[in-house]
């Protein structure tokens, strides 16, 4: 919360004041043309949704998965994907705007594994990036006032791609016997490694995320080793994937 300026004059601390006098608390903000969470009065939060990524590991893709709700692996992978997309500001928000202050595009990215042979994250990140590059947003007309709730209608104008601020590459390493790094582990190896580390880098060599779901503890040196190995590979891949978009 960024209410320091607005709360400066109070004797009570802001949290207590908020609990006792919620209406007055918010009113003090609004008098200053700002809201408690720092947004202007007419700004929507909907812009938080850039993309909604979900990974699915259906029973179809491997005998190790059963039908039903997603397992822990699936859940943590989806959360990590969402994290690297939103915190990395991959997608240029302006390109997702349909009608300022009224409607934005939501990109549902459903990543379904069709054949699970290990290291699903690297493949998922690559597929997601390629698919985002492939997105064409149609030109739509949004209804005014009374029709604002109705679905927008696609116009005849040409569709547009979205602008991606950066390109991500994930590199996964299995840690065998707590020290040996195996790049791109197969599903057989995954069952044997003590843990695995995924490093997501962008095309400018910036680390955008490190994913280490459970397993044995890894030293800082080992993580550094993974990052170094990932850097080595990323430049080549960025080139290959960059070509896809054009």
């Amino acid at each position: 919360m960024s209410g320091d300026a607005a709360t400066g004059g109070f004797v009570l601390d802001p949290d207590t004041f908020k609990k006792i006098q919620p209406l007055e608390y918010h009113r003090r903000f609004l008098e200053q043309d700002v809201r408690a969470d720092g947004r202007p009065l007419r700004m929507f939060r909907a812009l938080e949704f850039r993309a909604v990524p979900n990974i699915d590991l259906p029973a179809l893709c491997s005998p190790q998965f059963r039908p039903g709700p997603p397992g822990e692996l699936t859940q943590s992978l989806s959360t990590f994907l969402e994290h690297i997309i939103s915190s990395g500001h991959i997608i240029d928000l302006d390109t997702l705007c349909v009608a300022s202050g009224r409607a934005v595009w939501v990109l549902y990215a459903d990543i379904i594994c069709l054949n699970y042979a290990g290291n699903v994250l690297d493949a998922a990140v690559a597929a997601l990036m390629a698919a985002l590059r492939n997105v064409r947003l149609p030109d739509v007309t949004v209804g005014e006032d009374a029709d604002a709730d109705a679905a927008p209608v696609i116009s005849g104008k040409p569709s547009k791609p979205i602008h991606l601020s950066r390109s991500l590459v994930s590199s996964t390493f299995g840690v065998f016997d707590k020290q040996l790094l195996l790049a791109d582990p197969t599903n057989e190896e995954e069952a044997l490694v003590s843990s695995s580390v995924s490093v997501v880098l962008d095309d400018k060599d910036v680390v955008c995320g490190v994913f280490k779901p459970g397993g044995a503890a890894a030293s800082k040196a080992l993580i550094d080793e993974c990052i170094a190995a990932a850097r080595e590979r990323t430049s080549r891949l960025v080139e290959a994937l960059g070509g896809l978009g054009k």
Binding site: A46, F49, V52, P53, N54, D56, P58, A59, L60, C61, S62, P63, P67, P69, P70, T74, Q75, S78, T79, L81, E82, V106, Y108, D110, I112, L114, N115, Y116, A117, P138, V140, A151, P152, V153, I154, S155, G156, N187
Partner: protein, 250 residues
């Protein structure tokens, strides 16, 4: 709300397509096919390496993948049976159609799963697999006609079962047809389906000349219904030559 998946905003809508001239398959089909012409097929087996058997079928825009696991030991509660069981699971990918689908199976997917089971069971020699379960998972990657997709799913699942080495009496194929006024058109697309007055889905064992499943909706004169059945049987035989080739091409 599903807390195990990343949720989108509370409300989001699919934009409506631009107004287009109405489809009338009675006079001309949008993709210029003849009434008794099915979409061209592409089939491939074995692409899901983790499965005991798998198949991929493409019919025009329709894309269907099926993986077969088993025979595996049945769960204890029904293990006393002297014959095996075939379990089928039909699912549309979230991105397969106009509106995004949820991950949980809806009523239509449950019904289609049942139809798959009914269409394939007569062909599978389940008496050879006592106390075992054979599972076929079908995923529709792209849907262009819900009955046509189901038909492709049936042919695809039969191919995947054969690819898995499951003993079968015949290689089941399936075909859909729609009623448009007095006309019967085979293999209707999504746009055509929107204007049809009824539909037929028929599953068939071409070598044994036996129908394994049939379902029909819509009011129609008996003669036209029989015509649709006969057209579908003819198309099933055509599909059979393609799926048979795919099996032997391995």
């Amino acid at each position: 709300m599903d807390r195990k998946r990343i949720a989108g905003p509370e409300k989001s809508v699919v934009p409506l397509p631009a107004p287009a001239p109405p489809v009338n398959p009675q006079t001309a089909r949008p993709d210029k096919r003849r009434r008794d012409q099915i979409r061209s097929l592409y089939t491939k087996t074995g692409s899901v390496t983790q499965a005991n058997g798998s198949a991929y079928v493409e019919a025009g825009n329709i894309k269907v993948l099926c993986a077969v696991y088993g025979p595996r030991q049945s769960s204890s509660k029904n293990s006393s049976s002297n014959t095996g069981t075939l379990q089928c699971d039909f699912k549309y990918a979230p991105f397969s159609g106009g509106k995004r689908r949820g991950y949980a199976k809806d009523d239509q997917e449950k019904e289609f799963s049942l139809v798959l089971e009914q269409a394939l069971t007569p062909a599978v020699r389940l008496e050879q697999y006592p106390k075992s379960t054979i599972q076929a998972f079908v995923l529709v990657l792209e849907n262009d006609g819900s009955l046509a997709s189901l038909a492709a799913a049936i042919s695809c699942a039969a191919l995947a079962l054969a690819n898995a080495g499951i003993e079968m009496n015949d290689l089941v194929t399936a075909c859909a047809a729609g009623y448009f006024g007095s006309a019967v058109c085979l293999d209707p697309t999504l746009d055509e389906e929107a204007v049809q007055s009824g539909a037929v889905l028929l599953s068939y064992m071409p070598v044994l000349n036996e129908v394994t499943h049939l379902i029909q909706t819509g009011e129609i004169a008996p003669a036209q219904c029989v015509q649709a059945v006969e057209l579908c049987i003819g198309a099933c035989s055509q599909i059979h030559t393609v799926t048979q080739e795919a099996l032997l091409a391995e």
